[in-house]
Symmetry: C2
Subunit: 183 residues, 2 copies
């Protein structure tokens, strides 16, 4: 069974976080929803989610991927938290999967783990770099780093994660089940 | 300020519930996330959300709309809970807005408040009726009853609620901001 960690910090974007968790769990992936500061986390739109654990309590040995939801509040924490930044660097060094959507590719940029080609929420590229930025794809996969654009691309982003970790058949099944014909 | 209530019962579909709450709050709509059995509710994919209040504690006088997320677990509660069913009947009688997505149009059907034309998650129409069912629209609006299909239509459904309650300009702004060009 594949295993991913979704870190949540205060101000995370709720549609993005929940789409990743929901879709990946539908695929049978073990998803650890991990609070950075606390177990009870409040999103950018005041939706309150209770995490499964704290990020600092996770044993990352068997974790296949770290996936960051967007929202500037949460992204700023992910971009400045030393523990998160070090884990991202470790994952990159160990050639493990890393993903980020919306504002969160900025947290990957801060850790120096973003590959050449990427996407993000429009205008966030001004704080990353123009070079390699694409605005005409919902999801960009460059090596083992996946990036995506915003709330309405979150299901497509999650489905790409499913395709990488669980294969094309599970991807197609879930895409149909979610009615995500636009992905 | 418009005001809506989103009732959550154990087994609710998380992408649907969170999309409705998130998008409507972005529009400035007051959203009461209301637990049916308890304040802490666990969704169909084990995502734990803390509600703002209990459904039974709400004063519905100034509430403009009740919107039901799907997921069979939650829908069965919404379809059998007397308090919820009575509120839906009151809203229909008072010509107030009612919405439901995925499996939840079944709870509207049970309350006898579904209008002629509707949509729902594929196959749920077998438990409602074939007559008036449409599978070629993401959102069906018939009078003051809105219905939609599943997780990947939840943002479009939420945007239609915004258009009705807050107008076309807010709808267009949010549609752009969410990157929901497929709606």
């Amino acid at each position: 069974m594949s295993k991913i960690v979704v870190p949540l910090a205060s101000g995370f974007e709720e549609i993005e976080a929940v789409s990743i968790i929901d879709v990946c769990r539908r695929a049978g992936i073990e998803v650890n929803v991990a609070g950075i500061e606390t177990i009870d986390v409040v999103g950018a739109n005041q939706i309150r989610i209770k995490c499964d654990c704290l990020f600092s309590d996770i044993n990352f040995d068997n974790v296949d991927m770290i996936v960051l939801p967007g929202g500037w509040g949460g992204t700023n924490v992910l971009a400045s938290n030393v523990f998160v930044q070090n884990k991202l660097k470790e994952f990159k060094k160990d050639n493990k999967y890393i993903g980020a959507i919306c504002a969160a590719p900025f947290a990957l940029h801060r850790a120096g783990v973003l590959n050449e080609n990427y996407t993000c929420y429009p205008s966030v590229e001004d704080q990353i770099r123009q070079n390699g930025y694409t605005d005409n794809k919902k999801v960009v996969i460059d090596g083992k780093v996946l990036t995506s654009r915003g709330p309405a691309t979150a299901i497509c982003f999650s489905l790409e994660i499913v395709k990488l970790l669980e294969g094309k058949e599970m991807y197609e099944t879930l895409k149909g089940g979610l009615l995500a014909d636009f992905c």
